[in-house]
């Protein structure tokens, strides 16, 4: 306890000193130097020290790849990520214990105003860093070998997951798959039993694309008692593998040998792919309800008709302050986010976690937000 108080008072003191330094600088010099320092922070001047982050477990594989990549340029930086979950990550960030948070959902207005106490100035902002297509996986004897697909539109998927369609040879499925001979096997729905951003993003697709067939509120917990619940992505995958006639949803990277559902977009059925995930984000607008400086929050356009788009995606954010009480954290956050959202960083995540790269339409906005982090 006492040590903590000491560290905090030192942090607060140095924050005050920094502010005084900033004020002395004046803004005409700051604007020119901020551009210069940001490029030097990422390229020539390596960051050093210990830095902590916490949050969404969905980002874990990508964050591990990013840490490895980042340390290639900054060998003296030690970075730890605690995949404690979005909610826990944000609340840890709001106590000031971590330099950044990962979260499967954007900050709430309440959280934004709370963050003013933690950031040296201004309020925290979120930028999308990780786009991951969510696969609808199934296991059906004779139909679902690796790489095989079955066609469904949003309303069919919603009805299956709501227990309205209960056998595989139901007309609704058969009519969309003329060339498949579907058996009369009962459908077993498999969903997450723990709180999960994947669940929330998955059901938000139903909410937008099949509102008449999905009456539940948005929530990170599965809303109905249809089928079976399993803990974590690995639990869902192993349960789907265990029996004939199962259907579930999971991160694209975990699909393995299971069959996936090709989702109807416009007039065609699109298979899951990283590019498809990027395309739907490219075709989406920013969420104008997320007010606050520098925030980049995507309102996923689930009803997209873009060619090749795959509309069921999870968008995960990183949350940071525009100014930190600790100068080292500021330097790190800027350099870290710059790397993560760069082409290199997105490539690393794609290799490690089969995520979809950030579309170019977003990167300029994201870069602008990151540039706003005050390092001096």
């Amino acid at each position: 306890m006492r040590k903590n108080v000491l560290v905090r008072s030192i942090a607060a003191l140095s924050g005050i000193v920094m502010l005084a330094g900033l004020a002395a600088c004046g803004d005409n010099t700051a604007s020119t130097s901020s551009n210069g320092s940001s490029s030097s922070a990422t390229k020539s001047e390596p960051v050093s020290g210990d830095f902590q982050g916490a949050g969404a477990s969905s980002q874990q594989a990508a964050v591990e790849a990013w840490i490895a990549g980042f340390q290639g340029n900054n060998p003296d930086a030690k970075i730890a990520y605690n995949p404690s979950g979005s909610g826990a990550g944000v609340s840890t960030f709001l106590t000031g214990a971590t330099a950044w948070a990962g979260s499967d959902k954007a900050l709430s207005d309440d959280e934004v105003s709370q963050s003013k106490a933690v950031c040296a100035s201004g309020a925290a902002f979120d930028v999308p860093v990780y786009i991951s297509p969510i696969a609808v996986v199934f296991n059906l004897k004779g139909v679902s070998d690796a790489g095989k697909h079955i066609n469904m539109d949003a309303s069919t998927i919603a009805k299956i997951f709501d227990g309205k369609i209960t056998t595989w040879n139901d007309d609704a499925i058969q009519s969309q798959n003329k060339d498949l001979k579907l058996p009369a096997t009962p459908i077993t729905v498999v969903h997450r039993s723990d709180k999960s951003g994947t669940t929330q993003n998955f059901v938000s697709y139903f909410k937008d694309a099949a509102p008449n067939d999905w009456s539940y509120d948005l929530s990170e917990n599965w809303p109905n008692s249809v089928g079976q619940g399993a803990k974590g992505t690995s639990g869902v995958i192993s349960t789907v593998q265990q029996a004939d006639g199962t259907i579930g949803y999971a991160d694209f990277s975990q699909v393995g040998k299971l069959g996936t559902v090709a989702v109807k977009v416009g007039d065609s059925y699109n298979e899951i792919s990283a590019e498809g995930g990027s395309k739907v984000i490219e075709d989406s607008k920013l969420d104008d309800t997320a007010t606050g400086e520098n925030r980049v929050v995507v309102k996923i356009n689930h009803e997209t008709e873009a060619k090749g788009a795959y509309p069921i995606v999870l968008v995960s954010y990183m949350i940071a302050c525009p100014a930190y009480k600790d100068a080292k954290n500021a330097e790190f956050a800027k350099s870290w986010l710059t790397y993560v959202t760069s082409d290199d960083g997105q490539k690393a995540a794609q290799d490690a976690a089969s995520s979809a790269p950030l579309p170019s339409s977003l990167t300029s906005k994201i870069t602008k937000s990151i540039e706003a982090i005050k390092t001096k």
């Binding site: 979950g85 909610g87 929530s219």
Partner: protein, 317 residues
């Protein structure tokens, strides 16, 4: 003189040792009470926001846990409690008779060599960590047991407990109960075995003397003698089953109902497994809610132990 001194000194030294030992024994006894009180206080204070905090925020938290199915604490914890007790009692029912059988076999039927070997194996079974049982149950037993449960659902489906259709995969209360039964089996077995072995030979011989067969002898002499031991062994086993987390978490497909349909998925969940499942993504209030459910589990184990004491007292009179 010195030879006289020592016998005088020894009792004095013995007295100090006696005092020290008494002190240590007292300290140990008090320590366990302190630990218990500390656990209770921890649970109580961490769960306090549930009782004394903002009730609308609490409702919102619980509603987010259940996907909007309920927003009151009791609506949340009572089905969990029901599931916990249901799974534990089923496990105990399955394990009880098998355990007594094994214990009697070891104590009265098996040749010495086999008995020693079997005792060893049973004790070994108790040492396997629950996560191993969970993995075995989740990955091997769940798919393997489906044909059997499906048969049960088809032919015994008229009994409400076995109402079909049997879920496939069988991640159900029935399967969990089987795995938990295997886990508590060694506890009951080894304790009852020890008691059965202590049955006075005189009583056993007397039963034989009256012309009893071996089964009658066991009924007359061994079982009555071991009754209280069997009961306390069962209660210990029930305690273990009540708190079992990993195995349930890895096998059961959870639900929040008061259903007794053992062969259908997503019907019940236990408190311990629910805490483990929800904790990682819980916020502050969520953690308080989960700790509140833990407090209920803590109290229930107390009630179970108290009941066990009462039953044992009655049995031994």
């Amino acid at each position: 003189m010195s030879s006289q001194d020592t016998p005088v000194m020894q009792p004095a030294g013995g007295k100090t040792a006696d005092k020290v030992f008494k002190g240590i024994a007292y300290a140990c006894g008090i320590l366990i009470l302190v630990v218990l009180a500390a656990v209770f206080l921890f649970l109580f204070f961490r769960a306090w926001p549930l009782i004394g905090g903002d009730q609308s925020a609490n409702s919102a938290t619980i509603s987010s846990f259940t996907g909007g199915k309920t927003n009151s604490f009791w609506g949340y914890v009572l089905p969990l409690l029901f599931g916990t007790v249901l799974v534990s009692i089923l496990a105990l029912l399955i394990a009880f008779f098998i355990s007594i059988g094994i214990a009697l076999f070891i104590s009265h039927y098996a040749p010495k060599k086999i008995a020693t070997g079997l005792s060893y194996v049973v004790d070994l079974l108790a040492a396997i960590p629950s996560v191993i049982y969970g993995l075995w149950g989740g990955l091997i037993l769940v798919p393997a047991i489906y044909p059997f449960w499906n048969w049960v659902a088809t032919y015994l489906g008229w009994i409400p407990l076995f109402a079909g259709p049997a879920a496939n995969p069988q991640r159900t209360v029935a399967t969990v109960a089987v795995v938990l039964a295997v886990m508590v089996l060694p506890i009951i077995t080894s304790m009852s075995r020890d008691i059965f072995l202590q049955t006075p030979t005189l009583q056993q011989e007397a039963a034989y003397g009256l012309g009893a067969t071996k089964w009658e002898m066991i009924k007359l002499a061994v079982i009555p003698f071991g009754k209280s031991g069997i009961v306390s062994a069962s209660m210990l086993a029930l305690g273990r089953a009540l708190g079992e987390t990993m195995a349930v978490l890895m096998i059961l497909s959870p639900g929040l109902t008061y259903s007794i349909k053992l062969l259908q998925a997503s019907q019940n969940q236990t408190i311990a497994a629910n805490i483990a499942a929800q904790y990682p993504e819980a916020n502050d209030l969520g953690v308080s809610t989960l700790i509140g459910t833990g407090l209920i589990l803590f109290l229930i184990t107390f009630v179970v132990n108290y009941a066990a004491r009462k039953i044992t007292e009655k049995a031994s009179v």
